[in-house]
Amino acid sequence: MFTVETGSGFWNPIIWVIAIVVTFLLIYILRSLGKKGYKKDTEQVKSFLSGNPEYPKEKMHIKASNLYWGFTTSLKGLYTLLRKMHTGNTSDYVLWFVIILAIFLLVEVI
């Protein structure tokens, strides 16, 4: 019912479900060990930015395009190539079809 044999191993989701439940229990226990002295609407809840003023909320949220900046910058060569490939021109879509058709014909027929 639960176990999938993959030929060289197996996969059983129930073990994982149990593991996840145990992990959450552990997290809950650790969390409940925390300090109880939390007071709402006091100085405690304000964020501390080394004394700098807090920016408005739109500016504090990191934009999606900036999230993997390091990754995309280090792969700049690849990404310029990929961007060049995706022209958005309908003729190029057809051209790619013809190219793949030609490759398949070369390998398969000749």
Partner: protein
């Protein structure tokens, strides 16, 4: 050799259609390219159904002799009907594109890229 002319025409039509799709910039001309491919394929189908000196396959009033096989003709008719629908849809889309973009140049109709 003379019997191969329809097949040569098929190849020429399909290649012309692909040429129009790839190298022509006007969207209407690209639609014409699709129609060229379609005519090429239809011509191919109809050529396959040709038998020399055959008659129309009407079973009830047949004068005798070789009857042409009706399936390729039926396929071609279906294909033509589908083609009409596709071309009509395409041209209406081209009309809408012109309304939004103010141009029919395929190089400029690419707000969606990357």
């Amino acid at each position: 050799m003379i019997f191969n002319i329809p097949y040569i025409a098929v190849a020429v039509l399909i290649l012309l259609g692909l040429y129009a799709l790839i190298f022509k910039r006007n969207l209407i001309k690209m639609v014409i390219g699709i129609t060229l491919i379609e005519s090429g394929v239809n011509l191919f189908l109809i050529t396959l159904g040709y038998r020399k000196e055959s008659i129309a396959p009407i079973y009830t009033s047949s004068p005798g002799g070789v009857m042409a096989f009706p399936v390729p003709q039926a396929l071609t008719l279906t294909s033509i009907v589908i083609g009409v629908a596709v071309i009509a849809l395409m041209l209406s889309l081209v009309m809408h594109i012109y309304r939004h973009y103010g141009t029919l140049d395929v190089r400029k109709v690419r707000r969606l890229k990357e």
